[in-house]
């Protein structure tokens, strides 16, 4: 029952307001729901994320913890109050220049925290900036550009100039959707619902394995008149199952009579928002019969383990395998053989925006506006759940407040669609933070054993790898991980003899799905440690050892694919080498005198195939010119903060030959854009970018053909005509005279690209990817050996991206990837039921980030747009190995279990002291 409302009068963004509100409700809720100011974001309702930061009498506070009654007579400033409508203040401009907003969900909170600081201190130093931002989490940027932007506010700067025609690719263009993210206008998943939308709330399993029955619902309906509909499995008209693979729809939309992980959806309450919120959990009539759950890989593979899924008695979802050469002969030829075992836990995506969206029924169609990475996959998934044709479903991506793989699987989509379909009313839903963490997919926990051998000269002769991956209760992307890992398991090195295998194991734990790297970051821990160990045994410097064995054009990968071009690993290694030598030497000298705080420097390398593994994954892009001369890129790519809206426009504009500033776009609406696949697998710049280039080139070719102009001609698209200048010749196309093709466009170009791949044979041989990204990172850490704490001080990251379409965004991806890699290495581990919030599950704060120097290496990929390939996942993969290598130099300990929390590292230090050895 909601409390009586009371009138609260206060000043909001400079204007007096008087609002009738529940004085005990959260200020964030009042701002967003009662006053309609959605610029203040909600990521946790627990003070942990800071997305809701506002100024109260000029001081930063979390609006989710301020009772509305407490603002009476006081002054509240939100992001909407920073600048006059349509404008940006100096702080917002600095954010824009620096690319400080990626997805933008943390941006209002960051801006308010920074405003609080700048009010007190107009020229803050770095320390003061970090202290001011300490309470706001960002999962995308690694904080570096945010800090730089704030340090830069005081300096007046000329506004950035848009690059002229043909100069967009490679320019440090500010995000074309940046302004909306900085003013609070950008609509995320929970910002799109109309006021009268019904609310959907999901009841979830409190047990990891249980059977249940649902009792009579009469009582619930009677006690809560605003409750309109309780959805159960029986209400699903189509297939009550979803999953990434067309043939594995194993996860029920709503559980039928059993649940397989804690957090699984059981039923959905739909009704008036206040009524649905007010229903106490204990009144929902679900009768539980808890059973013994299968937790962890070992338990699942035990001979007498219960089956997680009835049709998979051995709890094995799938296996991957790769054989190249003769691995036994390779080991026989080795002078040094090293081996090890590694272990990682569940890692949570922890995007600051929880899953959210809104659906409405329009005749016999359903429209879902939702935060997503994969609009077309959502469309097909939702359609098969509703039992309708895919064309009857329209997915409109909202702005996405971070995805990292976690918003590739559907979450609210089928439930919202079902509720709107059945009630005929708009329905909204936003997961709470604990719900998001319990229900959503995770990074696969891995148990890896690996062995490698090399000669005295440091030539790798053989590599053996096995990885068990805990895929949780449902398949999700488990098969992808099982396929991708063996391909990448050797690391970016030439190895003549390889035997690799992987197993995806079912457990009663959260479904493990896609998370930046699909299992490759876990595998990289093994190959990078083995490189270091071999180098040590052979008496070769670790970087020299890597250079000696580095993959290069003309060599064959473990799958027998001959790489033809764009293999910039040696270049990356040579770029970090000078830092490496300086830092290593400095650490040795320092450690000779410091007893407690030891420094170390480590290196990590990676390679990563851009695109889906061995399957077709085409993208199609269309670009049109309307009668009034507007150019629109129909861009099916979901921009999840990585910046594809900007990148695609940059590429297409250059291909067409017009300034990027004149190209508008439509993002990801399945009614208005063609399928550009999902924003995953570091494929969008490479695959969709190529399609955008082809679309621009196609339109250009049509314009040139219509005017009989040569290929070098200059195109100017004006209000009603296109003017084409070809040397001294001038031609015109009268747009008004052309027939309309579609959606107001009179000219349209389109392009499709599908990277060339082949199926892998039974030995895992073939061409799984069209291109690969390469990188080397080095990290310097400081270890307090008495406490086991690790501080990463600085890093250098050299990445071969083929071509940096937008260097600001490449840097941003690398910073953000490093932040997540650092979290993986040192602090992040999701434990079901125990870390379902952002104070028990820790992700790096601004104070945990090292200094980072980014070195962009451009070894062009002939297949990619202007030579470009992906960077999203590559950014994260080398970080944890580099940190582990650094911990080794600092302590002499090779840590093999992640995260290396203070207690684990200290225990290892003590164990070594006890054993008296150096092992």
């Amino acid at each position: 029952m909601k409390r009586e409302s009371r009138t609260v009068e206060f000043t909001l963004n400079g204007a007096a307001v008087s609002a009738a509100v529940d004085p005990g409700s959260r200020l964030s809720e009042v701002l967003r729901e009662d006053l309609g100011l959605k610029g203040t974001k909600v990521g946790c309702e627990a003070g942990d994320c800071g997305a809701c930061t506002v100024l109260l009498d000029g001081e930063q506070v979390c609006a989710c913890m301020v009772p509305a009654g407490q603002v009476a007579g006081r002054d509240v400033t939100t992001v909407e109050g920073l600048a006059a409508k349509g404008g940006l203040n100096a702080l917002q401009q600095a954010f824009h220049r620096h690319g400080a907003a990626q997805c933008g969900i943390c941006t209002p909170g960051m801006l308010m925290a920074a405003s609080d600081l700048l009010r007190r201190n107009a020229k803050p130093n770095r320390r003061a900036v970090m202290d001011a931002l300490g309470g706001v989490l960002c999962r995308c940027t690694g904080y570096r550009k945010i800090v730089e932007a704030i340090l830069d506010v005081a300096k007046a700067q000329a506004p950035p100039v848009d690059p002229p025609a043909g100069a967009a690719v490679g320019a440090r263009l500010a995000k074309i959707d940046g302004q909306a993210k900085l003013t609070g206008v950008e609509a995320f998943g929970d910002d799109v619902a109309p006021r009268d939308a019904l609310l959907l709330r999901v009841a979830r399993a409190p047990y990891a394995r249980a059977r249940f029955t649902i009792g009579t619902l009469d009582r619930l309906y009677a006690d809560h008149p605003g409750l309109l509909r309780v959805l159960t499995a029986d209400d699903v008209p189509g297939n009550n199952g979803f999953g990434i693979y067309p043939h594995i729809k194993d996860q029920p939309v709503l559980a039928e009579d059993r649940v397989r992980y804690r957090g699984e959806a059981v039923l959905a309450l739909v009704g008036e928002a206040a009524a649905v919120r007010a229903i106490p959990e204990e009144e929902i009539p679900i009768l539980w019969y808890a059973q013994e759950a299968v937790a962890g890989i070992e338990a699942a593979l035990a001979p007498d383990a219960p089956a997680v899924q009835e049709d998979k008695p051995d709890n094995v979802l799938t296996r991957g395998r790769l054989v190249k050469g003769d691995v036994e002969a390779g080991f026989a030829a080795a002078d040094h053989v090293v081996e090890g075992a590694w272990q990682t836990g569940f890692v949570e995506h922890a995007y600051i925006e929880p899953e959210a969206g809104c659906a409405r029924r329009v005749g016999d169609r359903i429209e879902v506006t939702v935060t997503t990475q994969a609009p077309y996959m959502d469309r097909d998934e939702t359609a098969q759940v509703l039992g309708v044709a895919p064309e009857q479903v329209r997915i409109v991506p909202s702005a996405c407040g971070g995805g990292f793989g976690g918003k590739l699987d559907v979450s609210v989509q089928p439930l919202l669609a079902l509720a709107a379909w059945l009630t005929g009313r708009p329905v909204r839903c936003a997961y709470t933070r604990p719900e998001s963490m319990a229900a959503s997919t995770k990074r696969h926990p891995a148990r890896i054993t690996a062995r490698a051998g090399c000669t005295d000269e440091g030539e790798i002769t053989a590599f053996r790898f096995h990885g068990d991956f805990n895929t949780g209760a449902y398949a999700s992307w488990g098969p992808t991980v099982a396929d991708r890992v063996p391909v990448h398991c050797t690391g970016p090195y030439f190895v003549p003899n390889v035997a690799a295998s992987s197993t995806a194991v079912l457990t009663n734990e959260p479904p493990a799905g896609a998370f930046r790297g699909f299992g490759v970051p876990q595998a990289a821990l093994a190959h990078e440690a083995l490189m270091d160990m071999m180098a040590e045994q052979a008496g070769i410097d670790p970087i020299e050892f890597r250079i000696k064995n580095a993959m290069a054009a003309g060599l064959e990968t473990a799958t027998g694919q001959r790489l033809e071009a764009s293999v910039g690993l040696v270049d990356c290694l040579e770029k970090v080498q000078p830092y490496w030598e300086d830092w290593r030497t400095a650490a040795v000298m320092r450690n000779a005198v410091k007893k407690t705080v030891k420094r170390g420097v480590g290196v990590g390398c990676m390679w990563y195939g851009c695109g889906n593994t061995s399957i077709s994954n085409p993208s199609t892009m269309t670009v049109g010119v309307s009668r009034d001369g507007r150019v629109t890129l129909y861009n099916g790519v979901a921009d999840i903060g990585q910046g594809s809206n900007t990148i695609m426009v940059q590429i297409c504009a250059d291909a067409l030959g017009v300034p990027a500033g004149t190209v508008g776009y439509v993002m990801g609406d399945t009614d208005r854009t063609a399928d550009a696949g999902k924003s995953s697998a570091s494929r969008q710049t490479f695959v969709s970018g190529k399609a955008a280039e082809l679309a621009g080139a196609d339109l250009r070719a049509q314009v040139l053909r219509l005017t009989n102009a040569g290929p070098k001609a200059e195109i100017k698209i004006g209000k009603r005509r296109i003017v084409v200048r070809d040397g001294a010749d001038r031609h015109e196309i009268d747009l008004a005279a052309l027939p309309e093709l579609a959606a107001g466009d009179v000219l349209r170009g389109s392009g499709t690209f599908d990277p060339p791949t082949t199926k892998l044979d039974e030995n895992g041989q073939g061409t799984p990817y069209g291109t690969y990204g390469f990188a080397a990172q080095i990290a310097e850490v400081e270890v307090d050996v008495d406490l086991g704490t690790v501080k990463v001080r600085r890093m250098v990251a050299a990445h071969d991206v083929g071509r940096a379409i937008n260097p600001v965004q490449v840097e941003g991806q690398i910073h953000g990837g490093i932040a997540q890699g650092l979290g993986l290495a040192l602090m992040e581990e999701y434990l079901p039921g125990r870390t379902e919030n952002l104070h028990d599950y820790l992700i790096p704060t601004v104070g945990d980030m090292p200094e980072i120097e980014v070195i962009i290496v451009e070894d062009p990929e002939p297949l990619g747009p202007y030579g470009a390939k992906g960077i999203g996942e590559p950014a994260l993969i080398p970080t944890a190995p580099a940190i582990l290598g650094a911990i080794y130099q600092a302590t002499g300990l090779r840590m093999t279990r992640l995260p290396v929390t203070p207690d684990r590292l200290r225990a290892a230090i003590l164990a070594r002291e006890r054993d008296g050895g150096n092992d």
């Binding site: 004085p23 005990g24 309702e45 913890m65 009772p67 309470g135 007010a278 604990p434 040192l826 200290r906």
Partner: protein
């Protein structure tokens, strides 16, 4: 249906509490996080408008910290060196948003084993002032908190102040927090200390408290007794000095780790206290 009271005079607040139990809300930084995804509809007494409870007052014998004093208020207040430790704790609570809203009293009343204010206040021998409509009483902080989220507060009582008696001349203090990240982190272990230097470089008075290693933060009285009267140089803590602690395994660290880290932090705190400012 719950009611929400936000009186402007202490008398009204105590009257309301006398009529029946209510959830007290000050800064709300423990209140709201404990209610994520739940309808908030209980009877609330919001004490944030009680002017009498604001401010830090210095009298001859003691310092009185009003119940509405926030962490930021404390950091900004001009206070003697023996408050440095408590101020350091304040700077490491949550982020600035939490420091601007959260109160020391709320931290104490919430009685989390990891409450960062408690070790410093224990080391300062702080007392808790409890007011009801018909009585006022003072309790030592060590008696006030009785367990994990349990205190001696009666349903009709409001904590109106924390009272810190002045230690001896030249007293200084320190605070060390161990967490798994830089900002916004729940302590794995924290150690607070107050030292009063005596004549001839000897320790006249020493108080050390350790938090997050037992249900309620603990003073290490054996250590304090062993070192008091000794020279300020070679003071070393031994594992047996940690006997009052009873750490547990949790997501933030194992019991064994906590014990080990506590000893390290106690030694470091002692070393800091020994160095004259």
């Amino acid at each position: 249906m719950g009611s929400y009271l936000r009186p402007t005079a202490l008398g009204q607040a105590l009257e309301a509490l006398g009529e029946g139990p209510r959830t007290i809300v000050a800064g709300g930084t423990d209140h709201y996080p404990a209610r994520v995804g739940r309808q908030i509809d209980e009877d609330v007494l919001d004490i944030s408008a009680l002017r009498e409870l604001r401010g830090i007052a210095d009298t001859r014998k003691q310092v009185r910290i009003g119940a509405l004093t926030t962490w930021s208020d404390l950091v900004r207040a001009p206070l003697p060196a023996w408050f440095d430790g408590l101020k350091q704790a304040a700077r490491e609570v949550g982020g600035l948003q939490v420091q601007n809203a959260g109160t020391l009293c709320g931290n104490v009343c919430n009685a989390s084993p990891a409450a960062d204010g408690v070790p410093s206040l224990l080391a300062l021998d702080a007392r808790v002032e409890l007011s009801a409509r018909d009585r006022v009483r003072e309790l030592p902080l060590s008696e006030f908190i009785t367990g994990n989220r349990r205190t001696q507060r009666g349903h009709d009582e409001l904590v109106t102040a924390l009272i810190v008696p002045k230690p001896g001349k030249g007293a200084r203090s320190t605070f060390l927090k161990l967490g798994a990240r830089k900002y916004m982190v729940i302590s794995i272990v924290m150690v607070a200390g107050v030292l009063v230097p005596g004549r001839g470089g000897k320790i006249a008075d020493l108080r050390i408290a350790v938090g997050a290693c037992s249900e309620v933060a603990q003073r290490l009285s054996a250590l304090e007794a062993d070192l008091t009267g000794r020279p300020m140089t070679a003071a070393l803590a031994k594992p047996e000095h940690l006997a009052p602690l009873g750490p547990i395994d949790d997501i933030r660290g194992t019991a064994a780790y906590r014990r080990d880290a506590a000893l390290t932090l106690v030694r470091r705190a002692l070393a800091r206290l020994m160095i004259a400012p």
